[in-house]
Amino acid sequence: MTSAPAVLLLALAPALVAGHGDDAGVALKARKVLTCSWDGPQVVDDAVVLLRDGKIEKVGRAAEVGIPSSYAVIDYGDRWLAPGMVELHCHEAGASLYSFVNDLNDTVYLANPGMRASAAVEPGNHSMNMAVAGGVTTVLYIPGSGSNIGGQGVLLKTAFDTYAKKLVRDPGSLKVAQWGNPESWGPGVGMAFENWNTRNTFKRGIEYAKAWKRHADGAGPEPPRDVQFDVWRDLYAEQIAVSTHTQMYQVVLMTITMIRGELKMPVFLDHSTIGGWLTGALAKEMGVPAIVGPRSADTVSRGMINWQRNRHEGFRGVAAGYQERGHDMIGFNTDSPVIPQEELSLNAAMGARYGMTDEHMQIVRGLTIVPARTAKIDHRVGSLEAGKDADILVVTGHPADPRTSVEAVWVNGESVYDAERDGRRW
């Protein structure tokens, strides 16, 4: 099975901290490239990808792309190249939710919009090394759901050993948790109160952002700085989005109608399980992407946990539920460590198993361009197109098929993982 291309890579890879500065570029050749571009061709056969200065310079058919003579050429033979996967619900880029020192759930108030997950990042930890080996190259590292608004997530590359090099964007999102976990904050906190608390906090944040906008436009005085509300300036300018831990029909409905409809903030569903798919048509209409997981399916339980409230719909695929209702912005998440970070693609496989169709590459897009666009970082990651970060997976087949192995990973044009060279990790 493993073969010539890997051997070739072994010979070349040490020299390839690729294409930075004055170094020459690198040309990767492969049988198939899944571009996952937003609206261009999705697949290029017998392709070559040129990398330079950490970016993708060109993608095209080998017969049509001239490789400059100074470029190192790596021929991956019959392997496929795919964009690095993007995970929008991760708790493992630093202090983990499961660690003894839980630094991701500082539930001081019921709403803590000023807190930053970036404070807890630990570059090069085991989970991120496993993420790389599983083909996950970008994550949204977010606070836990111990409070209604846990704070600001941060978008990071999984590779690299310094925060500066890992950083994609901070703030990555504002993390809202609607029902399911924040109840444990204290007595009286339930669906109705959380709804009120979210509305109240957002209204104050939006007023703060508007005051700064007026000031920037020369129409008002400089408002006093309030670090608790600063994140709304990015939200109001639509530079970032609200990532919402939301599930169950009515709760997801409130996420859409309240945060998007009433408060007009960019928002995506991030979890979005347990009957949430019943909102699929509305979510699509309102432009709210659905990033689904860690559950792939809803089951009926008659025990203490009665997720479906006695609706006799049986066992339903969550991704399929959104898709059947016309939603076309469906991605996947792990909620790692609930599902290990390296198993993101398996969540997508389960999406397919439970009925999500893949005829337009929705499954692979749900691992790449859809979450990238959702987090507003698709100018940098999520597809293999000229000008984007050179985050590239070398795989033996369809990325959502667990029989496929990830043989090598490039991030920012650097060969950060090579199973042959570094030893297989996943």
Binding site: V300, A352, I363, R403, R424
Partner: protein, 427 residues
């Protein structure tokens, strides 16, 4: 990209179910004691016989709980009186066989009275139709070896069961299914002094005594000796000596696997299979192969560096199935050790085998989920392939069983429809 076909199948069966009569006819048409038969047409039948892996555009005839015939649809007409089921683009394969399962009942399976407990029978704790078995069925697993835990060097007798069935008699395939042996790791917890050396000695000692007992009975049956006193502690050895059951060994690290093969096969001459073959046990693959010892692998799919155990792969990470295969082992199967890996995820174990380098170009995953374990347990006269005369244990799914993007849509056990995803998918 390939669009999954299972929605169409579900629709077909949904339509079928909506006219209750039709569904009922298909449900039991192939069952034992039913006059009618069942004719199933499918795009691909994974036959898994000695000389044929798969057959395209196939038809299966099922009658009285058994497979009556398998052939190309064009060459195999539907006999009069048979109910027809056209599965369109779906595949049909034999029910999956898992030789390492602990979920057929209560978890009352570690009666660790002595260090070897050859007389204990795990069948006493079977609970038919429990939720884990139902999910196993929904994952296409139709036959399991339900075995005692590994708290002692010999946990007792396993039992081979179908996952479907309302009562024990309906589930039973063979009793005893195996004698369960466990080496290193778990049995050490029995008490102070139980290390690899003691466990090894215990096993040798018990095998010799059991074998002597079985030989006295064999001599009696041959008329050359008086009837021995019956001892339920040793009865299982009569089945082992007559090769009506095998030793299923929880064995994993290299030297432990090598010692298992040596003691049980080379020294005691009893039938054995490696069951729970993980870590670097593959280093003994050539030795196991030379003595015809099957390797049923899992729940770990790969072996990584573990200096504390003396496992050193020069920092590398190796696929367990791939390494057995690379050393020429020809009898590789997969197991879950359910509930360690859930029963319904057996097929995923084979996917992980491929991910870590197992060459599937000759259908090794399909064989390893069906015929190989059936052969290892000596029940390939009943299960493990789609051949005339075998139990009609059929799994209908959208494509290759190792690819979890294809879900199981229908499961028949002994000709009876026991799982229909369109009526409520559970996996």
């Amino acid at each position: 990209m390939v669009a999954p076909v299972h929605i169409r199948i579900a629709t077909l069966l949904g339509a079928l179910a909506s006219s209750g009569l039709a569904a009922e006819r298909v449900r039991d048409a192939g069952a034992p004691g039913v006059e009618a038969g069942l004719a199933i047409r499918c795009a691909k039948a994974l036959v898994v016989s000695a000389d044929l892996l798969a057959l395209d555009d196939a038809r299966l005839l099922v009658r009285d709980g058994r497979i009556e015939s398998v052939g190309r649809a064009a060459e195999l007409p539907v006999p009069a009186g048979y109910e027809e089921l056209d599965l369109g683009s779906a595949w049909v394969m034999p029910g999956l066989v898992d030789l390492h399962s602990h979920v057929a009942g209560s978890f009352d399976i570690n009666g660790a009275v002595y260090q070897t407990n050859t007389g204990l029978r795990v069948k006493t704790s079977v609970v038919p139709g429990n939720a884990r078995l139902e999910r196993g069925l929904a994952g296409g697993v139709t036959t399991i070896l339900f075995i005692p835990g590994s708290a002692t060097a010999m946990g007792g007798e396993g039992v081979l069961l179908k996952t479907a069935g309302r009562v024990f008699e309906e589930m039973l395939v063979r009793d005893p299914g195996s004698l369960k042996l466990a080496q290193a790791d778990n049995p050490k917890g029995w008490g102070w002094g139980m290390g690899r050396l003691t466990i090894n000695w215990q096993i040798r000692d018990t095998l010799r005594r059991g074998l002597a007992y079985a030989k006295r009975w064999a001599a009696f049956e041959a008329g050359s000796e008086a009837e021995p006193a019956l001892d339920p502690q040793w009865e299982v050895f009569r089945a082992l000596l007559a090769r009506r059951a095998q030793v299923s060994a929880h064995t994993q690290a290299y030297q432990v696997v090598a010692m298992t093969v040596r003691q049980v096969v080379a020294e005691a001459g009893l039938p054995l299979y490696i069951d729970h073959g993980t870590f670097d046990g593959f280093l003994a693959a050539e030795y196991a192969e030379s003595l015809d010892v099957p390797a049923i692998l899992g729940p770990r799919s790969m072996s990584s560096q573990n200096k504390g155990r003396g496992i050193d792969h020069d920092g590398r990470f190796l696929g367990v199935a791939a390494e057995y295969q690379r050393r020429g082992h020809s009898r590789i199967g997969f197991n879950t050790d359910a509930p360690i890996v859930p029963q319904e995820e057996l097929a995923l174990q084979s996917a992980m085998g491929v991910r870590y380098g197992f060459d599937d170009s000759e259908g090794g995953t399909i064989l390893g989920l069906t015929l190989r374990p059936a052969q290892a347990a000596g029940i390939d006269d009943r299960v493990g392939s789609l051949e005339r005369g075998k139990d009609a244990d059929l799994v209908v799914l959208g494509g290759h069983p190792s690819d979890p993007r294809h879900a199981v849509e229908l499961v028949f056990v002994e000709g009876r429809l026991v799982y229909d995803a369109s009526q409520g998918r559970i996996w």
